[in-house]
Symmetry: C2
């Protein structure tokens, strides 16, 4: 059966805000636009959503095409963010963007992708479209998410030290936390368990390595912070 469609739909696009932490800085993966509009400016990886594919599938495809990143393989957490739809956001015509946010660590792109790079969220280049707004929105959501879920796991290796965990929080929240209170609180949440492995690195006392009990998103019993 065919839709009796009285209206022409707008173009549908998807865009990805891909976060990772590098040198204790929260960074976003961007691509440099090769063509107009906004040629030479940086933008979120994104592209068209065709009929018959979900936005999540389209995202996977365009992030692979545009940035050489495999979403499912490289990002341990992906969620839909918001749908941006102001009529003038794309100068070529009305394009509705369903945006996603993803978090990973050491996100890799093929070397051929010379126009892919990762920038600190608090020091972004000039951005195309309304992408600066989208990133700001994503950052706010991410910070909130860390306070009431176990989402940090997405930024960390399988085994990690408590200092690394705390540093991840600090990078996302943008402020310092008290070491003793942080450890006490986090350990009391029961999300992680210690391993018998230590991390020894540099001229100082080795650090105990921990693991998450679950690497799927779950709500915290008491919200953090």
């Amino acid at each position: 059966m065919k839709y009796t469609q009285p209206y022409t739909p707008p173009t549908l696009v998807v865009d990805a805000v891909i976060f990772q932490i590098v040198n204790n800085q929260l960074q976003v993966v961007l691509i440099e636009r090769a063509a107009d509009p906004f040629k030479g400016m940086w933008a979120l990886p994104g592209g068209y959503n065709a009929v018959g594919e979900t936005t999540r599938d389209a995202l996977q495809r365009v992030v692979q095409e545009k940035a050489g990143i495999n979403l499912s393989a490289d990002l341990s957490y992906v969620e839909q963010l918001y749908t941006f739809d102001t009529v003038a956001r794309d100068p070529r015509g009305h394009a509705v963007s369903v945006t996603y946010m993803g978090c990973g660590r050491n996100v890799e792109w093929s070397k051929s992708e010379a126009h892919t790079a990762s920038f600190p969220v608090d020091n972004l280049p000039k951005l195309a479209y309304d992408h600066a707004d989208i990133i700001q929105y994503a950052h706010k959501r991410l910070a909130a998410k860390l306070t009431y879920t176990n989402a940090v796991y997405a930024f960390l290796p399988k085994r990690f030290t408590l200092s690394e965990l705390q540093a991840a929080y600090q990078s996302v929240l943008g402020r310092e936390l008290d070491k003793r209170n942080f450890r006490k609180k986090f350990l009391s949440l029961g999300l992680i368990h210690e391993t018998d492995e230590m991390k020894r690195e540099g001229a100082h006392r080795p650090a105990r390595l921990y693991e998450f009990n679950a690497t799927e998103l779950e709500a915290l019993s008491r919200s953090f912070d």
Copy 2:
């Protein structure tokens, strides 16, 4: 300039979850479908989003057309919820739905709209499409929203009693709250102020009427509950 569009976009639709509280029950406004698919079943008011109109504008239009409700006039709080996009959600073809949630009180529709009605969220009729999922998602989000924002104002008249306020919370959260603790906590948030007016009704002590300081959404200093 014209898009060089390599893909045909899916159909874009908008759907509204309109909440109100009636007899201390959280209810949702639904319309009875007059045509296939899902003829005779109930559904969220919604419809096509044309190129050139924002989803918010399309929502306003279709909610007026389908349910005879004026969103801006009748609902004091509206927010975008989520975009549902599974390919099979509409049997006629791939339709991506940008959904919104709105809250109001005594939401009115014209008498001619015989196929519009309001149902308790915990006792819904058989619903078309994936609308049961959408309502469940909206309800969860609404409950969360009440705990960290002043969003309840949308369900209440300009002046209201503390018992009415508490009842609104209870209807949304689906559980009882302690009267003394509720009042102490809510008053300490500084969101409302008392007026010199009393509500006298029935054979019992009159109740002090209160007003919100702001009727725009704001975050609570300490989260509620």
